[in-house]
C-alpha cells in the first residue's frame, strides 16, 4: 500500500498599518484593521469556504477514504473568529467527519524556535489550547513555521512530546534518497515526514502556469504520476491551503482538479489517503534525516534566507526578541499579545530583498509597495512598542 498524505497550511498574519514616525510614543494601535478584514473576507470567499465545502463533500462522497490534515495558525483563527466565524464552523464540520487531523504549530506563526525555546514552548502551548477549544483534538504531530527544521529543533519538539514533525524534503540533505518514506531524528524519538516538493509544487505553484509543458494538469494525469510510486510508502503533499482559489484562481480549474483527484487516486486499489498520525502508525521508520542547519520550504534555497537575510530583517528580529524578558516581567497580557503578533514571520518576509526588483509586480504576497516600506512601518511600530515596554 502507498499512502497520500495531504497537509494544508492555513495562516493569515495581522498586517501593520502605514505607521508614521510621528505616531511613535503617541499611538499604541498598530494594525491595519481595514486591510486585515478586507483580505480575510476575500480569502474566506475565494478559498476557505468553497474549499472546505469541497473537502467536506469529498470526505462524505468517499466515505472517509479521503483523509487530510491542517495546521491553522492562532492569528488566522483569531481573525476568523473576529470577521468570519463561519470559517471556523466549516473547519469544525470537517474535523467532525473523523477524516481530518489538526497539527500543532506556534500560535503566532513565528520564528521563536530560533530565538527563544521558552517563548517557542509558550506559543505552541497557546496554540494547542486553542485547537483543543475549537476542535476537541490534542495535536500529536508538529509542524513548525514554514517547515523550519533542524536537528536542534527536532530535539526540542521531541522533548515537548510530539510523535513526529513535518519537514521539507531537501535535496542536499536527502542526497539521492527518496522523500517518500518515514524518517527519524538521529537521536531523539521523533519521526519525520518529508514533503515531496516535486509533486506538491505541481499543484501549488505550477498548476495554472500556461508555460508549463504539463499544463493543463488534470486529476488523472496527476494520479498517473502518483501511481508510478507504487513501491514507495508515503507521498507527502504539503502546501498552503490558499493554493485553492487564492494562489490558483477558481477559473484555473483548481476546484475541478480537486474534485476529481481522490477518485483518480483511489482507482488504483494499492493507494490510499492517510493523515500524518496514521502514516507514522502504519509505516516503520526506514532512515535518518539530519539537517545540521535550519531548513525550510521557502524558495529554491530551502533555508532561512526569506526571513533572515538582509540587515533590515536581522535588526527587526533581534530587536523584537530582545524585548522578551522585559515584556514578560511586565505581566501585562495585552502587551504580551502585541509582542506575540509582532513576531509573526510574515513581517520579516515582507522585508526580503532576495527577489526585490524595483517596480516589479510580484507583490502579491506583501501588503507593502517595497521591502523598505515593510521595514519602515515595522520599525516605527517596534520603536513605539519599545517605548511602552520601557
Amino acid at each position: 500500500m502507498t499512502s497520500l498524505c495531504f497537509y494544508f497550511q492555513v495562516h493569515q498574519p495581522y498586517r501593520l498599518k502605514h505607521y508614521r514616525f510621528d505616531e511613535i510614543g503617541a499611538n499604541p494601535f498598530y494594525e491595519d484593521h481595514v486591510k486585515n478584514e478586507q483580505i480575510l473576507h476575500k480569502v474566506a470567499d475565494k478559498c476557505y469556504l468553497p474549499t472546505n465545502a469541497k473537502m467536506l463533500d469529498l470526505i462524505n462522497r468517499f466515505e472517509g477514504r479521503f483523509r487530510i490534515s491542517y495546521s491553522i495558525s492562532g492569528t488566522a483563527l483569531e481573525q476568523f473568529a473576529q470577521y468570519r466565524p463561519e470559517v471556523i464552523d466549516s473547519f469544525k464540520a470537517l474535523v467532525a467527519t473523523g477524516a481530518v487531523e489538526i497539527l500543532a504549530e506556534t500560535y503566532y506563526h513565528s520564528l521563536s524556535v530560533l530565538y527563544s525555546p521558552e517563548e517557542f514552548r509558550r506559543q505552541v502551548q497557546m496554540h494547542e489550547d486553542l485547537i483543543l477549544k475549537y476542535f476537541g483534538q490534542k495535536p500529536k504531530i508538529f509542524r513548525n513555521t514554514e517547515l523550519i527544521y533542524s536537528n536542534a529543533i527536532g530535539q526540542e519538539v521531541a522533548d515537548m512530546g510530539y510523535l513526529a514533525q513535518l519537514c521539507e524534503g531537501v535535496d542536499r540533505i536527502l542526497t539521492g534518497r527518496s522523500p517518500n518514506k518515514v524518517y527519524k531524528h538521529p537521536t531523539a524519538e521523533l519521526k519525520l515526514l518529508l514533503k515531496n516538493y516535486s509533486l506538491s509544487d505541481d499543484i501549488a505553484f505550477r498548476f495554472s502556469d500556461k508555460g508549463w509543458a504539463e499544463h493543463p494538469l488534470t486529476a488523472h494525469k496527476f494520479a498517473s504520476w502518483v501511481h508510478r510510486n507504487f513501491d514507495e510508502r508515503v507521498i507527502n503533499l504539503f502546501m498552503d491551503y490558499e493554493t485553492f482559489g487564492e494562489h490558483q484562481w477558481a477559473d484555473s480549474g483548481i476546484f475541478e482538479f480537486l474534485d476529481h483527484l481522490p477518485g483518480a487516486i483511489l482507482e488504483n486499489p494499492n493507494f490510499d489517503f492517510k493523515t500524518p498520525s496514521e502514516v507514522v502508525a502504519a509505516y516503520p521508520v526506514e532512515d535518518v534525516y539530519a539537517p545540521p542547519f535550519p531548513i525550510s520550504w521557502a524558495d529554491a534555497e530551502r533555508d532561512l534566507s526569506a526571513w533572515l537575510d538582509n540587515a533590515m530583517q536581522l535588526e527587526a528580529v533581534s530587536r523584537i526578541y530582545a524585548l522578551e524578558q522585559k515584556v514578560k516581567e511586565k505581566g501585562d497580557d495585552d502587551l504580551l499579545k502585541v509582542w506575540g503578533k509582532l513576531q509573526t514571520s510574515d513581517h520579516f518576509y515582507y522585508m526580503s530583498t532576495k527577489f526585490w526588483s524595483d517596480g516589479d509586480v510580484h507583490k502579491y504576497f506583501s501588503p507593502y509597495d517595497s521591502p523598505y516600506d515593510a521595514s519602515v512601518f515595522y520599525m516605527n511600530v517596534l520603536s513605539d512598542f519599545e517605548k511602552r515596554i520601557g
Binding site: R20, F21, D22, I24, N310, A311, M312, Q313, L314, E315, A316, T353, W356, S357, D358, P371, Y372, S375, V376, M379, N380, S383
Partner: protein, 418 residues
C-alpha cells in the same frame, strides 16, 4: 556608413571641462569620453581650454578661431533665413530673427572671447553659435549630428538642413522642468523646434522622455531614454562621525529643486529628531525665501546654509552626511544623488526625477507627499538595518550605472540613422 572606418559624429556642446556650472557639463563630457573610443568625434564648443584634450576627439572652441583667417575663408556676412522655422504652433520669436539672422564673423567671434558662456546676451551667443558652427560644418566630414541641450539645437537644425545628415538631439533638461510645465517662452520654442526636427531624441531619463511627450507633443517612437552616469573614478569614502544626524540638500535652490518640500519636511521632522542638522549647499532664487521660512519657524539652529560649494567641499560634506534628500519637483536626471550613493549615503528622492529610475534602492515618494518623505528620512536616520540594506544594494545598482552602457545605446542610434 563606411565599414572599415569609424563613424564620424559632429557633436555640438556648450559646457565642457574645466567649465561646469551644472549637470550638463559633466554629463556631456562623460558621454563624449565613452563614445570617443567607438566613433570619431568632432566637438564644437563656445569655449575650450587648449590644455583639456580628449583622446579620439577633435575639440574646437569658437574662442580659438582666428578672426582674420575665419573671415578669409568665409568672407561673406553670415546670415540665413529659414522661413519654416517661424511656422508651427510654437514659431520662434527671437529678437533680430524675424527676417533671418545677420551677424558678422567679428561680432560672433567676439561673443566667445567672454569668459562667461551664459550671461545676459545668451540669445545672441546662441545665434553666433549657429552662424559659426554652420559655417565650420561646411568643410567638415561627418555622418551624424549630435546636439546637446537647447543651446545647440538651432545649430543642429541648421547643419542638418545644409548637410542632409541626420540630427540627434540630446535632452538633458527642459524649460518645462526649469520654469513651469506651462511655460511657452523662447527657450521652449527652441526646444520645440529641436524636438520636432530631430531624427532621434535622446532623453536622460524615462521621466524626461515622458515630459517631451506630454509638454512638447514629441513623437514617442523617436525618443529613447539614455540614462546619465557618473565617472567611475573610485571615490574613497572616509566617513566622518558627528554627534548630530545630518541631511544634505545639494543643488540650486530654485523652485525646480523643491526647497518648499524641503522646508515642510524638515519642519515635520525637527520636533522628533532633537539632534537634526540640515545642510543646504547651493544658491538660487528661492534661497532668500527658504531662509525666511526657516527663521519664521524658529528652525535656524537646524539649518546650515553653505552657499555654493566646490567639488572638494562637496566631498567633505558628503563624508559627514547621514541622508541625502532630493525633493525635486521636476528633475530630468539628478546626478548628485548618484554621487551621494557613491558615498554610501542612503538617498530619499522624489519620484519626479530621472535618477529614481536607476537608484532602485533609494526611498522614493512624490514631491508633494510630505508625510511619506519625512517618514523615509526619519527611518534612514534611525534604523541601522535599513541603512545597511539600502547602501549595500545601492552599490549593486551603481555598478549598472556607467557611461559605457549609455554610450552603447547612443551608438546603436547613430548606426540606425547613418
Amino acid at each position: 556608413m563606411r565599414h572599415s572606418e569609424k563613424l564620424q559624429v559632429l557633436t555640438l556642446g556648450w559646457e565642457f571641462p574645466p567649465l561646469a556650472t551644472g549637470g550638463l557639463g559633466p554629463a556631456f563630457y562623460g558621454l563624449s569620453k565613452a563614445l570617443s573610443t567607438f566613433v570619431k568625434l568632432s566637438i564644437l564648443l563656445p569655449r575650450s581650454e587648449p590644455s583639456f584634450k580628449l583622446q579620439g576627439a577633435d575639440i574646437i572652441g569658437l574662442n580659438h578661431l582666428d578672426s582674420s583667417e575665419f573671415s578669409h575663408f568665409y568672407p561673406e556676412v553670415l546670415e540665413f533665413t529659414e522661413d519654416d522655422w517661424f511656422q508651427g504652433p510654437y514659431p520662434l520669436h527671437l529678437p533680430g530673427w524675424k527676417h533671418g539672422l545677420a551677424i558678422s564673423p567679428q561680432e560672433a567671434l567676439a561673443l566667445f572671447n567672454d569668459q562667461e558662456v551664459y550671461g545676459p546676451n545668451l540669445m545672441r551667443k546662441v545665434q553666433a553659435y549657429v552662424a559659426l558652427c554652420s559655417k565650420l560644418a561646411k568643410s567638415m566630414q561627418f555622418d551624424v549630428i549630435h546636439a546637446h541641450d537647447w543651446l545647440t539645437y538651432l545649430a543642429g537644425i541648421r547643419i542638418k538642413a545644409q548637410s542632409g545628415k541626420p540630427l540627434v538631439i540630446h535632452v538633458h533638461s527642459l524649460e518645462t522642468d526649469r520654469v513651469h510645465p506651462d511655460v511657452r517662452n523662447q527657450v521652449y520654442q527652441i526646444e520645440w523646434q529641436g524636438i520636432h526636427r530631430a531624427d532621434k531624441i535622446l532623453a536622460v531619463s524615462q521621466f524626461t522622455r515622458q515630459s517631451i511627450i506630454d509638454h512638447y507633443q514629441g513623437n514617442a517612437s523617436k525618443i529613447i531614454a539614455v540614462h546619465n552616469a557618473l565617472d567611475d573614478s573610485p571615490v574613497t569614502v572616509r566617513k566622518v562621525r558627528t554627534d548630530y544626524k545630518s541631511i544634505l540638500f545639494l543643488g540650486r535652490v530654485t523652485h525646480q529643486k523643491g526647497p518648499d518640500t524641503l522646508f515642510k519636511v524638515i519642519q515635520k521632522l525637527a520636533p522628533h529628531v532633537p539632534n537634526l542638522k540640515v545642510f543646504v549647499a547651493g544658491v538660487g532664487d528661492q534661497l532668500g525665501h527658504l531662509k525666511w521660512q526657516v527663521e519664521q519657524a524658529g528652525l535656524e539652529e537646524r539649518f546650515v546654509f553653505t552657499g555654493y560649494i566646490k567639488k572638494q567641499q562637496v566631498h567633505e560634506i558628503l563624508a559627514q552626511s547621514d541622508a541625502y534628500f532630493m525633493p525635486s519637483v521636476s528633475e530630468p536626471f539628478g546626478l548628485s544623488a548618484i554621487e551621494a550613493a557613491q558615498f554610501d549615503i542612503p538617498c530619499v528622492i522624489s519620484k519626479q526625477s530621472g535618477v529614481s529610475e536607476v537608484l532602485h534602492n533609494s526611498l522614493k515618494a512624490n514631491f508633494w507627499d510630505i508625510d511619506k518623505l519625512a517618514n523615509y528620512l526619519y527611518a534612514t536616520l534611525h534604523y541601522q538595518g535599513l541603512r545597511e540594506t539600502m547602501v549595500g544594494l545601492s552599490r549593486r545598482d551603481l555598478r549598472q550605472i556607467n557611461w559605457l552602457q549609455s554610450a552603447k545605446q547612443v551608438i546603436e542610434v547613430y548606426k540606425e540613422l547613418s
